[in-house]
Amino acid sequence: MKSDIILAGVGGQGILTIATIFGSAALADDLYLKQAEVHGMSQRGGDVQSNLRLSSKPIHSDLIPKGAADLIVSMEPMEALRYLPYLSPKGWIVTSTLPFVNIDNYPDLEAVKAELQKHGHVVAFDMEAVAKEVASARSSNLVLLGASSPFVDIPQDKIEKAIEGLFGRKGPQVVEANIAAFRRGREMALQTK
């Protein structure tokens, strides 16, 4: 088993939560793992990414080489495109299509979406809209986690255990909402894949 994943988004969108959940699920599954994060200045509304590497064999580098990523997982469509140089030809993109516009030169959204579709292996939908249907907008990142989960070889129950572990202290309602968001995202991706 080997999954090299680039997680992308804008500071504050919750991509590190996705990394944390994959991380504890991987630890429970006895996998090797390396996960490089961004802290500091760029967390203030700038572009952020995390390199997440999971493997059944020891991992050397904390960074994923260009052209080697199996998966780009993004909370934001333009941020998904930013990491295309890292994607392997067989790799998949799983991204929300909802743009986060905090800059005045954001490119034409239709052009962004068209460029995503050009890649072929894409799961793209509005994660926030789906999150609102099953839980609330705050669970958008859990929808994304669900949508990316069919591409990562970790059993579903281990990921759900990790979600419980992370949100457990906030009460059963929060856990249920996040599990629902995760499952819905997973279903959506399985329909596309």
Partner: protein
């Protein structure tokens, strides 16, 4: 018994220290080192044992306090970012002269690529000129293991040990095997040679000779260190020296089977014999190191025998920014295109519809109100200069505020504004955050007060150390008293809340104080929106 845990490099180092009998941690927050102290503060065992873990005012006070703990025989760590070591440079270099009693680790986290820093300085140069042994972990497990080893070295060699971290290790998580049981902390005991802690010239000369003599011992420790090793390869057309995380990138690009002989470096001073062996069996040498060409310069001098050394100085390895597996692969491919097993990935498409997304001040951040009102007040003064400082408010340089003219080092806003006013600049303003003010702004303010310099000092107080994630700020609740205590005129120490509805009032306050021909301090205050949210949700 050992337990597997998922830890950042910073956290692994902190936990390693706790398990190795740590008694005190001292630090000032700074990316990428902050999580070391935060881990000690959050760890249950650390709380149970009462390990000291209060933030210090700056890196100098932190290192001195850690040295005091070491004097009393206990194990201490002090952690900082690379530019923090500049602030602590005086006690750092002199702590090699006093030596250590209890194990003392000085942890400096470098930030190549400048993710959140002003420069790319490489802490290993400090270790070298202080003549101090150094450790440089290549992965999270080594970071954990090096804490204990570092304490042992420090106590065995009677000297502090510099631990060099880098961003990609500090902020990368991996599974680490950790001990369940911790060592007992040292009992309070005094140095065997108390005289060498008094660095008067007569003592220092003696101690300096001893330190020079000890270098041989330090090299001997490096030769037999578990963190330095020679891995023999079959292809001797190139020998590679790889330190710290550069070693991982080398392993990555060959899938773990490097055809060349490699010396992996994790402990300094350099293991001379090991490197001579590599040199003798190889046609040429390649140096892979994260940061500046430190090993490369030493190899050039210490081991030079006419063989080519490929590295950053002659442009074979890129000289600025972080190393990456891609850069290591490119370098080796250019030097040895036929190298067996070099993995080649085809880079993905270059994106077309992507633009930069620079960071910005949060919506609801009080710094925004300060800059908005300040810019309004300065409309009448096109020649105004605003000297900035280090923190979230440095983002005031960017759109939409474009409000500051400088950002140099912690505290420089006040002293640069003073120097500019001395040169005839008017209006001359300084903007500094509360935590930066107590870190290094107070002494500069005293200078300005003593000469009644015609400047306006704005302390944008958000009651926290915001940029690094909201650590306690040492001046919270005391800023007015500090300014008055330093001798500022009470009529010109003005306080206001940084709120949108007070925009006109803040603007007028700036105008009034610019008109006053002397030193003014404006303290504009509003809790950081990030910590305010956290406090609100904690109350629920």
């Amino acid at each position: 018994m050992r337990t597997k845990r998922l830890l950042l490099g910073d956290e692994a180092l902190a936990l390693g220290a706790i398990k190795a009998g740590l008694s005190g941690a001292y630090a000032y927050p700074g990316t990428p080192s902050t999580e070391i102290m935060e881990y000690v503060q959050g760890d249950e065992e650390s709380r149970r044992r009462g390990i000291h873990c209060h933030w210090s005012s700056n890196e100098k006070t932190a290192l001195e306090a850690a040295l005091g703990m070491s004097y009393c025989g206990k194990r201490a760590i002090t952690s900082m970012k690379h530019v923090g070591l500049n602030v602590a440079a005086d006690p750092f270099v002199n702590s090699a002269m006093t030596g250590a009693n209890g194990g003392l680790l000085v942890i400096s986290a470098d930030d190549p690529s400048m993710h959140s820093s002003q420069n790319e300085q490489d802490s290993r140069f400090y270790g070298d000129f202080a003549m101090m042994p150094m450790l440089e972990p290549s992965n999270q497990q080594e970071a954990y293991d090096m804490a204990r080893k570092g304490f042992e070295l420090s106590e065995h060699l009677h000297i502090p040990v510099l631990v060099r971290m880098v961003t990609r290790l500090s902020h990368s998580r991996a599974v680490v095997e950790t001990e369940n049981e911790a060592d007992l902390e040292n009992h309070l005991h005094y140095p065997a040679n108390p005289r060498q802690w008094v660095l008067m010239p007569a003592v220092s000369r003696e101690r300096n000779r001893q330190l020079i003599k000890d270098q041989e011992k330090f090299v001997y420790e490096s030769e037999k260190s578990q963190f330095n090793r020679l891995e023999e390869g079959e292809d001797h057309s190139l020998g590679i020296v790889a330190s710290g995380i550069a070693y991982n990138y080398l392993q990555e690009v060959f899938g773990g089977k490097v055809p060349f002989s490699v010396v992996k470096i994790g402990q300094y001073p350099l293991p001379v014999k090991m490197l001579k062996h590599l040199r003798d069996e190889s046609d040429a040498i390649l140096i892979l190191e994260e940061g500046q060409p430190f090993i490369e310069r030493q190899m050039g001098g210490l081991l030079y025998d006419g063989k080519t050394i490929y590295g950053k100085l002659n442009g074979h390895v890129v000289r600025d920014g972080e190393l990456t597996p891609d850069e290591v692969a490119r370098t080796i491919k250019a030097l040895r295109p036929e190298a067996a097993g070099l993995k080649a990935h085809k880079e993905g498409n270059a994106p077309e519809n992507v633009v930069g997304r620079p960071p910005a001040l949060c919506q609801g951040c009080g710094h925004r109100d300060v800059y908005g009102a300040m810019n309004a007040a300065l409309e009448k003064y096109p020649d105004a200069k605003v000297f900035g400082d280090i923190g979230c408010y440095t983002l005031g340089f960017l759109k939409p505020f474009n409000a500051i003219d400088s950002c140099v080092d912690m505290g420089a806003s006040i002293t640069m504004a003073k120097g500019a006013a001395d040169a005839g600049q008017f209006p001359s303003l300084a903007i500094i955050g509360d935590s930066t003010f107590t870190h290094s702004g107070m002494t500069g303010l005293l200078d300005a007060i003593n000469e009644n310099s015609n400047i306006v000092v704005v302390i944008s107080d958000n009651l926290t150390t915001g940029m690094t994630g909201g650590q306690d700020s040492q001046g919270t609740g005391k800023l007015e008293e500090i300014c008055l205590g330093l001798g500022a005129d009470p009529a010109h120490v003005r306080t206001i809340d940084s709120l949108p509805k007070l925009h006109d009032k803040i603007r007028d306050l700036f105008e009034e104080e610019m008109q006053y021909p002397g030193l003014s301090v404006i303290i504009s205050r509003r809790e950081c929106i990030q910590t305010a949210r956290r406090h609100a949700s904690a109350k629920k």
